[in-house]
C-alpha cells in the first residue's frame, strides 16, 4: 500500500508536473496528438480557471513511438529526470505494458491514456495505475451480450488482428459467446496494414455465419467492410470500440457498406450530437488546428478523473493522498464518455459502460445494449 511522503516530487506551491506519454510518431501516431490534446484541453481549462488548489498543471509530453524500449525510456526520463508527480499516457498497449514495473516500483500514480489491454491495470498488485477508458475485455463482453440478443444469430465468425490490442478482446468474447450458446465458427486474421480482404471475406462467406465480429483497427476494418460489401457478405457485423461508425463512413465514403454494422461506442453520442458539442468546442478553443475526429476525446475522461483526484486530494498534495482520493471517486461523469467513473482500491478500471451504435437510414443512431431494429 502507498506510503505517505511529504516531499513527493513534481509539486510546488504553484504547480503540479504531469508526464504525458503518447505516440507522437510511429505506427499508432494516429492516436498520438489527437488523444493527447483531447486530454490536455481539460488541464488547459483547469489552468485557465486558476488551477487546482492554486497549482497549475504543467505537462511534459514524451514520445513512445509505440515501441516498448522508447516507452520505457520515456517513463524513466519523466520519473527520474523530470521528476514528475504522476504520469498520464499510453496509446499502445504493448509498449505501455513495458513501463508498468517501473511505474509501480517507483510508486508513481499513472492514468492510462487510451491503451485497452486489461493486464496493464488489472494485473495485481497494482496500487498506482488507473484507467478511465473501456478495457478490452469489457469490449468483448459487451459484444457477446449484444449478439445474444440478436434474433437468429447462432453462428458467428470473428475477424481481427493478431496483436495484443485485439487479443485483449478475444478472451471475454469467446467466453461470452459460448455462455450464450452461440457457435464460434472460426477466427480469421487480418493484417493491421490490410490492403485487401478478398481472401478473408470469401472464406467467411463459405462458412455461412449469421454474424461477423470485427476486431480491427480503423483502416483495416474499412478495407474489410468495403470488400465484404463488394463481395456480397451482408450479415450483421459487430465492431469493437477501436472503430467509430462516422470514421468508417468517412473512410469508405458513405454508409452503404455499414448498413448492417454495429459498433461498441464509448461516447455519449455521435460527433455533432448535443452531448458532444461542448467537448468539441473545448477542443476547438484550445487546439483550433486539430481535426475533430472520433479519437479526439478518448483521453478526455482520464484527464477529468485526474483533475477530480487532484482536487479531492486537497492542498497538501502527496502521491499517497492522490491515490487515496482516486480510490474514492464514485460515479464521476465521464465527460464525453458514456460511462461514469468509479474507482476503488481493488479496482482501478473506472469505466465499464459501452453501448452499441448502428446505422439506420444512413444516420448513426444509438442502439443500446440490446439489439433492436
Amino acid at each position: 500500500a502507498p506510503h505517505a511522503r511529504a516531499d513527493d516530487p513534481g509539486i510546488t506551491p504553484t504547480s503540479i508536473k504531469i508526464g504525458m506519454i503518447g505516440s507522437l510518431t510511429g505506427p499508432a501516431a494516429a492516436w498520438g496528438w489527437p488523444t493527447i490534446n483531447g486530454a490536455r484541453m481539460v488541464y488547459d481549462a483547469v489552468n485557465a480557471q486558476g488551477g487546482i488548489n492554486g497549482r497549475k498543471i504543467e505537462l511534459v509530453v514524451e514520445d513512445e513511438q509505440c515501441a516498448p524500449p522508447m516507452a520505457l525510456a520515456a517513463a524513466k526520463k519523466l520519473i527520474h529526470r523530470d521528476k514528475v508527480f504522476m504520469l498520464h499516457g499510453g496509446s499502445c498497449s504493448g509498449s505501455i505494458l513495458a513501463t508498468r514495473d517501473e511505474v509501480l516500483a517507483n510508486e508513481v500514480p499513472m492514468m492510462i491514456l487510451v491503451a485497452t489491454m486489461d493486464k496493464i491495470v488489472q494485473e495485481k498488485p497494482n496500487d498506482y495505475i488507473y484507467r478511465a477508458f473501456l478495457p478490452g475485455s469489457f469490449d468483448g463482453k459487451i459484444i457477446a451480450d449484444f449478439i445474444a440478443t440478436m434474433p437468429n444469430v447462432k453462428r458467428v465468425v470473428v475477424v481481427g488482428h493478431a496483436d495484443e490490442h485485439a487479443g485483449a478482446r478475444y478472451g471475454t468474447l469467446t467466453e461470452g459467446l459460448k455462455k450464450h450458446g452461440v457457435e464460434l465458427l472460426g477466427l480469421e486474421t487480418i493484417e493491421t496494414e490490410l490492403t485487401d480482404a478478398t481472401a478473408q471475406v470469401l472464406k467467411i462467406k463459405d462458412a455461412k455465419p449469421d454474424a461477423v465480429v470485427l476486431v480491427g483497427r480503423p483502416a483495416a476494418s474499412a478495407v474489410f467492410l468495403k470488400d465484404a460489401h463488394r463481395l456480397g457478405l451482408d450479415v450483421p457485423m459487430i465492431g469493437a470500440t477501436v472503430v467509430d461508425l462516422q470514421d468508417l463512413a468517412d473512410r469508405i465514403g458513405g454508409t452503404d457498406a455499414l448498413k448492417n454494422m454495429y459498433v461498441v461506442a464509448v461516447y455519449k453520442g455521435p460527433l455533432g450530437s448535443e452531448a458532444m458539442t461542448p467537448w468539441q468546442e473545448m477542443l476547438k478553443k484550445y487546439y483550433p488546428s486539430d481535426k475533430v475526429q472520433a479519437s479526439s476525446f478518448l483521453g478526455t475522461s482520464g484527464a477529468l478523473a485526474v483533475v477530480e483526484g487532484l482536487k479531492k486530494a486537497g492542498p497538501d498534495l502527496t502521491r499517497a493522498k492522490f491515490v487515496e482520493a482516486m480510490n474514492g471517486i464514485q460515479n464521476l461523469d465521464g465527460g464525453p464518455m458514456a460511462c461514469s467513473l468509479s474507482f476503488s482500491a481493488a479496482d482501478h478500471d473506472g469505466c465499464r459502460t459501452g453501448v452499441m451504435w448502428g446505422v439506420r437510414d444512413g444516420k448513426i443512431v444509438v442502439i443500446g445494449d440490446r439489439w433492436k431494429n
Partner: protein
C-alpha cells in the same frame, strides 16, 4: 467464380507490388543499391495527389499528373542532396560507398515520414478513386474499377519501360553505370545525370503506385513501409534486373498470397510472401528472371 474473384484481386495486388518493385529495380539498375526510401516516395505521391484533388479541388487526372511529375522532381532533388555527396567520395571503395548509400536512403525514409507526419500524422485520410463507378461486373465477377486501372497502368508502364530500356540508350547507360561507374565515365557517360534520371523515373513510378493504391489502402505517413517490403520481394523474385521479371514476381506473390489465404489459413497470409521468397531464391538463386553474375578469376 470464386476463383475468378480471387484471381482478379490477386492479379491487381500483384501488379501493385510489381509497380512498387519496378521503382526499386530502376534505382538498383543504375546504382546497385536497394532504395529504402521508395516506400516514402510512394506515400508522398499519394499525399501530393490528395492535396491536389481534395484540398485544391483539381480534376483527378491533372492531380495524378502533378503527383507524378512533382515526386519525380523530388526524387531528383533527394538524389542530389543525400546520395550524390556520398557517391562523390573519392576515397571510398565500391562496397563501402554502396552500404553508405543504402543507409542514406534509410535516413531519407525516416525524414520523409517525419515530414509527412507534420501535416498529416493525426488521422487517416482518403483519396478518391479515378472513377465514380466503384465496381464493374465482368462475367459475374464484381471487380473494383480502381483495380482495373491498376492492372492497366501497370501493364502499360511495364511495356513502356521495357521498350524504353531496349530502345533508348538510357537503359544501357544505366546498366553500364551500375556495373562499373568508372568504366561508364570513360565512355563519356555523365554518371551523375544517370543517377538523377533514374531517381526521377523511379520516384515517378513510386508516385504512380502510390496514387493508384491509396484509394484501396488509405493515406497515412506509414503507408509505404509494408508496400516497400512487398515491392522488394517482387523485385527479388524477378531477379532485380528485368522489368517484366519484377511484374511477374509481383503477380506471383499477389496470386499465391490470396489463394493461400483463402484455402490454407488467413492467419498465415503475412508469411506467405517470405516463404515464397525463400523458396524461390533457394531454387533459383538469382531470382526467376535474373541472370547469374559473371564471376571468375
Amino acid at each position: 467464380m470464386e476463383i475468378a474473384t480471387l484471381l482478379s484481386v490477386g492479379l491487381s495486388n500483384g501488379c501493385l507490388y510489381g509497380l512498387v518493385g519496378l521503382g526499386l529495380v530502376l534505382v538498383y539498375s543504375s546504382q546497385g543499391i536497394p532504395n529504402f526510401a521508395h516506400g516514402e516516395l510512394f506515400m508522398a505521391g499519394a499525399f501530393l495527389a490528395y492535396t491536389a484533388i481534395v484540398l485544391l479541388g483539381l480534376p483527378y487526372f491533372l492531380s495524378f499528373l502533378i503527383a507524378v511529375v512533382g515526386i519525380g522532381l523530388m526524387g531528383m532533388l533527394l538524389e542530389w542532396l543525400a546520395i550524390r555527396p556520398i557517391s562523390l567520395h573519392r576515397s571510398l571503395g565500391r562496397a563501402s560507398s554502396e552500404v553508405a548509400i543504402v543507409l542514406a536512403t534509410v535516413g531519407l525514409a525516416i525524414v520523409l515520414k517525419g515530414l509527412a507526419r507534420i501535416p498529416w500524422g493525426d488521422s487517416v485520410r482518403n483519396l478518391p478513386t479515378a472513377f465514380t463507378t466503384q465496381t464493374v461486373t465482368i462475367g459475374g465477377v464484381a471487380i473494383a474499377t480502381q483495380r482495373l486501372l491498376i492492372v492497366a497502368v501497370t501493364l502499360v508502364l511495364t511495356v513502356a519501360i521495357s521498350v524504353f530500356f531496349a530502345r533508348a540508350p538510357l537503359g544501357k547507360k544505366m546498366r553500364a553505370t551500375a556495373q562499373n561507374p568508372t568504366g561508364a565515365k570513360l565512355i563519356g557517360i555523365h554518371t551523375s545525370n544517370i543517377y538523377s534520371a533514374t531517381w526521377a523515373l523511379a520516384a515517378a513510378c513510386g508516385a504512380i503506385a502510390g496514387v493508384l493504391a491509396a484509394p484501396l489502402i488509405f493515406l497515412h505517413p506509414d503507408m509505404g513501409t509494408r508496400m516497400l517490403l512487398k515491392g522488394f520481394a517482387a523485385a527479388c523474385l524477378g531477379g532485380f534486373g528485368s522489368v517484366t521479371g519484377v511484374l511477374l514476381g509481383g503477380v506471383l506473390m499477389g496470386v499465391v498470397e490470396i489463394f493461400a489465404g483463402r484455402y490454407i489459413a488467413t492467419s498465415m497470409m503475412d508469411i506467405f510472401a517470405p516463404i515464397i521468397i525463400i523458396l524461390v531464391l533457394l531454387f533459383w538463386p538469382q531470382g526467376l528472371f535474373g541472370a547469374r553474375r559473371a564471376a571468375r578469376v
